[in-house]
């Protein structure tokens, strides 16, 4: 299979390698679908003064394993030896990417798990009823557990983990540089201004949590602050890790780095690009915490979409009720400018599903997608092994026990970016 580089073009060629099996060995390697990790090499990559110890283990789909205190997850990707520019601002220099070639190890993830303050308890089951609810239920997860160094500040621990996990993800993908890809995706660049196909230009507004340490998101390695204004970015940049998660709240409503790398709304737009729409861009926006900024950001986002010539927008969020209010304002601001919008909401309809679904719905826009009810309870079976911690505090139980949990605790289960297939339907 020949691989055409689109170097110099405006698109990105994504070389996808499927990880079908994993192993631990002396050298990190990828061959015939098997990804082997050398713990010694992994430790070397993860080493940092803020961490006194790190341990890596595989948790694979179908294993009777639970990962608790899940922090972030990253898909192994690289653009060449040493990273080639991947994860700009962290592994690579802080520069726009989204061009040339990117190698992807599909079906694998590097997952940090363990205690950090302000992190809400997040659970992934690799088997059982909760497994299909999380993206990590279907990936071979290299779980990175850690022990903070004595006296290290938690912020330093979190930073060390972030850098280490990104570097490790890039290093793993490097093992596939010489391998024949299983799939080649040619991702187009942004549509030309004079594109004459007469198709509607549809964009994604992606709200990022911007509440400071432990509750922030990084763009090109910089924390996207709460006083930032919405900004336009090429969707292909997301493929190269321009957006990295640094927030630890609301587990089911989490957008981990892995999901930003595989931005579901962008993927859905790309799937129909040139058919009945043009994938016209992504607007990254802060989710301000105060009313004045929220109004400004929403109004500005709408203006930006208008100026960029978008015909319709899909809005997503990160977080709970406050983020809902933000989306409602954006939807209304866009509708006021004549730009139809759809937003992805998770419902908080109570345990029996009869509560009011949406905390703050829009008033002038009406089209909402539901990614499921936060409050509905799940029965999780006992497992043989748990990573990330010994207990699940919200269930008051040892991590390997059978337990009942609200859907709210399953990592990324109500995926605000629309990864999941969960939704709410009216019961009989």
């Amino acid at each position: 299979m020949s691989v055409t580089s689109t170097e110099g073009g405006t698109g990105l060629t994504r070389l996808v390698h499927h990880v079908r099996a994993v192993a631990v060995g002396e050298r990190t390697a990828f061959s015939s679908g098997t990804l082997t990790v050398s713990p010694a090499e992994a430790h070397a990559v993860l080493t940092d003064p803020a961490l006194s110890d790190v341990r890596v283990s595989w948790a694979s789909p179908g294993d009777p394993v639970r990962i608790v205190k899940v922090l972030d997850a990253v898909e192994p990707r690289t653009k060449g030896p040493g990273g080639g520019g991947i994860f700009p601002g962290f592994v690579g220099p802080a520069l726009p990417q989204g061009r040339g070639i990117t190698h992807v190890l599909r079906g694998a993830a590097v997952v940090a798990a363990g205690f950090l303050p302000r992190a809400q308890e997040a659970v992934v089951d690799m088997s059982g009823p909760a497994a299909p609810l999380s993206p990590l239920g279907a990936t071979h997860n290299l779980v990175v557990e850690f022990t903070p160094a004595e006296g290290a500040a938690w912020e330093a621990v979190y930073e060390a983990l972030r850098k280490g996990v990104l570097a490790l993800a890039a290093r793993l993908a490097e093992a596939a540089l010489g391998a024949e890809p299983d799939e080649v995706d040619e991702l187009p660049g942004l549509p030309a201004r004079d594109d004459s196909r007469g198709l509607p230009r549809v964009a994604a507004i992606t709200n990022l949590q911007t509440q400071g340490t432990f509750k922030e998101v990084f763009v090109y390695g910089r924390s996207f602050g709460s006083t930032a204004l919405p900004t336009l970015i090429d969707p292909n940049d997301l493929d190269d890790g321009a957006v990295v998660s640094g927030q630890l709240g609301h587990p089911s409503l989490k957008n981990p780095t892995w999901v930003f790398q595989n931005h579901p709304v962008v993927a859905a737009l790309r799937a129909r690009h040139g058919v009945d729409l043009l994938c016209a861009g992504v607007v990254l926006s802060p989710e301000p915490v105060d009313a004045t900024n929220t109004e400004l950001v929403s109004a500005h986002a709408a203006r930006l979409c208008r100026a960029a010539g978008f015909d319709a927008v899909v809005v997503t969020k990160e977080g709970g009720g406050n983020a809902d209010a933000d989306m409602a304002l954006k939807m209304d601001a866009l509708e006021d400018l004549g730009i139809p919008t759809v937003a992805l909401y998770a419902e908080m309809a109570g345990v029996d599903g009869t509560g009011p679904s949406i905390v703050v719905p829009p008033t002038r826009a009406t089209a909402m997608v539901s990614t499921g009810n936060y409050d509905e309870r799940l029965s999780l079976p006992a497992v043989e092994r748990a990573f990330g911690g010994d207990r699940v505090d919200v269930a008051g139980a040892p991590a390997i026990d059978a337990m009942e949990l609200p859907t709210a605790v399953i990592y990324s289960s109500l995926s605000p970016l629309g990864w999941g297939r969960l939704t709410c339907r009216e019961a009989v």
Binding site: P132, P200, V202, P264, V265, A267, A268, L269, A271, R272, D276, L277, D311, A312, V313, V314, P340, T341, V342, A343, L344, Y345, E347, A349, D352, G353, T354, G355, P356, S357, I358, P361, T366, A367, M368, V369, S370, T371, G372, N373, E376, T407, S415, L417, G418, W419, G420, R421, L422, T423, C424, R425, E426, A427, V428
Partner: protein, 342 residues
């Protein structure tokens, strides 16, 4: 085999009287009573209303009578429980909703019937509710809707908007073929195509509150002060809850022209009560209201104030308080109210 139906109604439709008998305790009789007879006719031979249970509206099937009502319902061994039609009667609607909710919670097949604006609507728990007309004059068509709904629920079929279903419909998580993102893109294309209706999440229905006629002349009116700021005598003698209040209380202000600090305080859990406790008039403006009454601006100040705590109060309870306050104030001839909210 005929399906056994138990019908819950109120004292009025049971033929006992009106407001004068609104306090009767739960009771039952074999067979259909009042509107139940017409309902029986519409249901036909496959169904039999084996018992009719009623209770006075004043109880609104509250916790003091609900167990007795449910005992009577269960004693008749129903296949289906039917409550109403309650039209827009607030207390009757509440009662129908609660009996329905309790029936559903007990695993019984049930359907309630009331007007969509009935404040009891949201208290039906997971029980389905179908719409009746607004007034009892519309009993005929309301019973037709109800009979059709009874047949459906008895057959285990879901009730939808086309069947007249109104109110909360429990929403359950399901896994579908398309991702949320794919559905969002499809939905936005539908919007672009002009579809303004399509959505996966219906917008919440807020009550249509028809404003009351204004007071003609405040200087001759009886005006009440009411509050959700949880202002109570200092000892909180009746134990008003600080959050998720399940009750409301009344305290006399007759003869008082002030609420001194130290004698009253706010037990509201939803905000810092420091300022309110420094000066209770910041929650209930008795001082200036009494002054205005003295000057003839207000005709007369009602002799007591009504209070609850508006902190995390369920929509259902809040609605119920409103209905009950309205009934209470109206009974005493109050013509206008000032409601302070925190």
């Amino acid at each position: 085999m005929t399906a056994r139906v138990v019908h819950y109604i109120n004292q009025f439709f049971a033929g006992l009287g009106g407001e004068d008998t609104a306090s009767v305790l739960p009771a039952s009789r074999e067979g259909a009573v009042g509107p139940g007879r017409k309902l029986q006719q519409l249901l036909g031979d496959d169904y039999e209303i084996v018992a009719t249970v009623w209770c006075g509206d004043d109880h609104a099937a509250g916790p003091d009578v609900l167990p007795a009502i449910m005992d009577l319902v269960r004693a008749a061994e129903p296949h289906v429980v039917v409550t109403g039609p309650a039209f827009t009667s607030g207390r009757y609607g509440l009662a129908c909703a609660r009996v329905a909710a309790a029936s559903a919670a007990a695993g019984l097949t049930v359907v309630a019937c009331m007007h969509p604006d009935n404040p009891g609507l949201d208290e039906a728990g997971t029980a389905p509710v179908v719409a009746s007309g607004e007034v009892a004059r519309q009993m005929g068509p309301s019973l037709e809707t109800l009979a059709a709904a009874v047949r459906k629920v008895a057959a285990g079929e879901p009730l939808a908007a086309d069947d007249g279903r109104v109110g909360k419909i429990p929403r359950r998580n399901v896994t579908v073929d398309q991702t949320g993102a794919e559905r969002a893109v499809a939905l936005v294309l539908a919007r672009l195509g002009g579809d303004r209706e399509a959505t996966e999440v219906p917008l919440p229905r807020f009550d249509q509150v028809t404003p009351a006629q204004p007071v003609d002349d405040v200087s001759t009116a009886l005006v009440a002060l009411v509050t959700e700021g949880a202002l109570v005598p200092d000892a909180n003698p009746d134990s008003l809850e600080s959050a998720r209040a399940t009750r409301w209380l009344r305290y006399a202000v007759d003869g008082r022209d002030a609420l001194p600090a130290g004698e009253y305080r706010s037990v509201h859990g939803g905000f810092s009560t420091v300022w309110a406790n420094e000066d209770p008039h910041r929650i209930l403006p008795l001082d200036v209201a009494r002054q205005l009454e003295g000057e003839g601006v207000i005709g007369r100040l009602h002799g007591e104030y009504l209070v609850t705590a508006g902190n995390g109060t369920s929509v259902g309870n809040a609605r119920r308080f409103g209905v009950e306050w309205a009934a209470d104030l109206r009974r005493q001839g109050v013509q206008a109210a000032l409601l302070t909210a925190t």
